[in-house]
């Protein structure tokens, strides 16, 4: 008798537990307000990207096409992947001395792991992280960016202040 009782209570308990699970999934079926899916390309305008989101490294330029990079190569040294290559050139100053300035800041997004170490290492806040994330290209050579704009130069004001 005891065994028979156990047999039937086990069936009953199992059915109750199974119905509980079905109630849960069923309750979500009739509550479409709980749906979390975001329709990505359509919701581009309303998409919330946090301000700190690490998309890629960019070099801000002001309205005079000037940047903060002094070509000190600290970022290049900090990068664990070798994604940064800084090419500097010497220019003649008005007082006759030569000065090392940035020629090209070459950035390979393809090998960048977005670890933020270059931004952490930069002493003059010349580079920041951008919030963009749609960087797909068909050719990996297109992932190599030159961050300083053509014809840009070092922001003079800041160097004067430092001096």
């Amino acid at each position: 008798m005891n065994a028979a009782k156990r047999y039937f209570t086990s069936i009953f308990k199992a059915i109750v537990a199974l119905l509980k699970g079905m109630k849960l999934t069923g309750s979500y079926l009739v509550r479409p307000s709980k749906i979390l899916t975001q329709q990505y390309p359509e919701n581009r305008d309303t998409l919330y990207i946090p301000q700190r989101f690490k998309g890629r490294v960019v070099m801000p330029h002001d309205e005079n096409n000037e940047h903060n990079c002094t070509a000190c190569t600290l970022c290049q040294l900090a990068c664990p992947n070798g994604s940064i290559q800084i090419i500097s050139k010497n220019i003649d100053m008005p007082d006759g001395t030569k000065k090392k300035v940035l020629d090209r800041w070459v950035y390979n997004l393809g090998s960048c792991t977005l670890c933020q170490l270059c931004i952490d290492a930069c002493p003059s806040d010349a580079i920041v992280m951008d919030n963009g994330f749609e960087f797909s290209v068909y050719d990996k050579s297109k992932l190599i960016y030159e961050l300083n704009r053509p014809g840009s130069r070092l922001k003079e004001k800041k160097t004067e202040k430092q001096a």
Binding site: L18, G21, M22, T25, G26, Y28, P32, I35, T37, Q39
Partner: protein, 352 residues
């Protein structure tokens, strides 16, 4: 209308060939209907599953993704059907056709409405149960001929599963056959004119219905009994090696089988195309009669389909030995006792 078509066929093909052309036409109509319904149910399943999981489901192809399932079928039709180099080629290519043919054959005695029935044979229910068990041969053939251990394991599981669960499903069906005293589909439906068996037959019928629901889900190889194609264990089970249209055939067969099981369940327990009547509610009954029987039938079928889909997206999968334990230790004994109870109930006339 039907008469007119018959006349036209007679004119074109002559009295000798006209019936055959007619049969082929009817067959094509039914196959198209079934395929379209299966595709619709694929869409429904995806949407229902998505809503249960707080997703939107297909949204891109057509408004609300309504054309997604058709697009998938179209894509599979265009894809190449690969054959493994070491496969048993003949069996490998026959298997999907066999599985699909069997599921189409089972539609023959189904009564969609009082007038729409292909073949009202006097052993209709027996025919469906026996024909649908041929499908397992197709699955075994697919598993064996793929020359893949995963496929073989899946097919073996499927064989063990379908053979065992057919017993329970058969016993559940027998209960109703006994109560209605008929094996023909139309006879069973007619016997429910004054009330569906699930109400009239009270306790034995309800127990039989539950057993039938569980056993038929198992026969369909659907979760929580989808061991034959258990994705996390056997990658895809018996259809691992199939691709393109041959894979689509297995897929379509699964959904048409879902329809057959739902239709059989509707016919046996839920009154087929009979409208819902409640005793002494004359206006209500009159209103229910206004709804065409065709709609009644498909409404019930889709409710049963929804239940099967609901099971699938809620429960985890059983293990093979637990699956067999459930059958031999629970469903079959209970079903047999239930059959005896049903016999007593019928004998004493305790049917309301």
């Amino acid at each position: 209308m039907i008469h007119w078509i018959g006349q036209k066929l007679n004119d074109i093909f002559g009295p000798l060939w006209a019936p055959y052309v007619g049969y082929i036409l009817v067959g094509l109509v039914i196959i198209t209907l079934v395929v379209v319904m299966a595709v619709i149910s694929i869409y429904l399943e995806r949407k229902i599953a998505a809503f249960m999981q707080m997703r939107l489901g297909p949204m891109r192809v057509g408004k609300w993704g309504t054309l997604q399932a058709f697009a998938d079928v179209f894509k599979l039709m265009l894809k190449e059907s690969l054959t493994p180099a070491q496969a048993d080629k003949q069996l490998f290519h026959i298997a999907p056709y066999l599985v699909l043919t069997v599921s189409f054959l089972a539609f023959a005695p189904i009564a969609f409405s009082p007038t729409l029935q292909l073949w009202d044979m006097n052993i209709g229910v027996l025919y469906i149960t026996s024909i649908s068990s041929v499908g397992v041969i197709g699955i075994l053939m697919a598993g064996w001929s793929s020359n893949n251990k995963y496929s073989l394991l899946g097919a073996m599981r499927s064989g063990a599963q379908i053979v065992s669960y057919e017993l329970s499903a058969g016993i559940a069906i027998l209960t109703i056959v006994m109560m209605s005293g008929s094996l023909s589909v139309s006879g069973i439906i007619q016997s429910q004119a004054d009330g569906w068996w699930i109400f009239k037959g009270h306790i034995p019928a309800i127990i039989a219905f539950v057993i039938f629901a569980i056993a038929s889900t198992a026969e369909l190889n659907r979760a929580p009994f989808d061991l034959a194609e258990a994705e996390q264990e056997l990658t895809a089970g018996f259809h691992t090696e199939y691709s393109g249209m041959q894979f689509a055939m297995f897929f379509l067969a699964e959904y048409t089988n879902m329809f057959i099981v739902s239709m059989l369940g509707t016919t046996l327990f839920l009154g087929g195309w009979m409208p819902l009547h409640i005793a002494n509610w004359e206006t209500f009954n009159h209103l229910m009669d206004k709804i065409p029987p065709f709609l009644w039938f498909f409404g019930k079928v889709f409710i049963s389909l929804f239940m099967i889909i609901w099971f699938r997206w809620t429960f985890p999968r059983l293990r093979i030995d637990q699956l067999l334990k459930l059958e031999w230790k629970y469903l079959l004994p209970i079903g047999m006792v239930n059959l005896v109870i049903g016999a007593i109930v019928t004998w004493l006339g305790w049917i309301f």
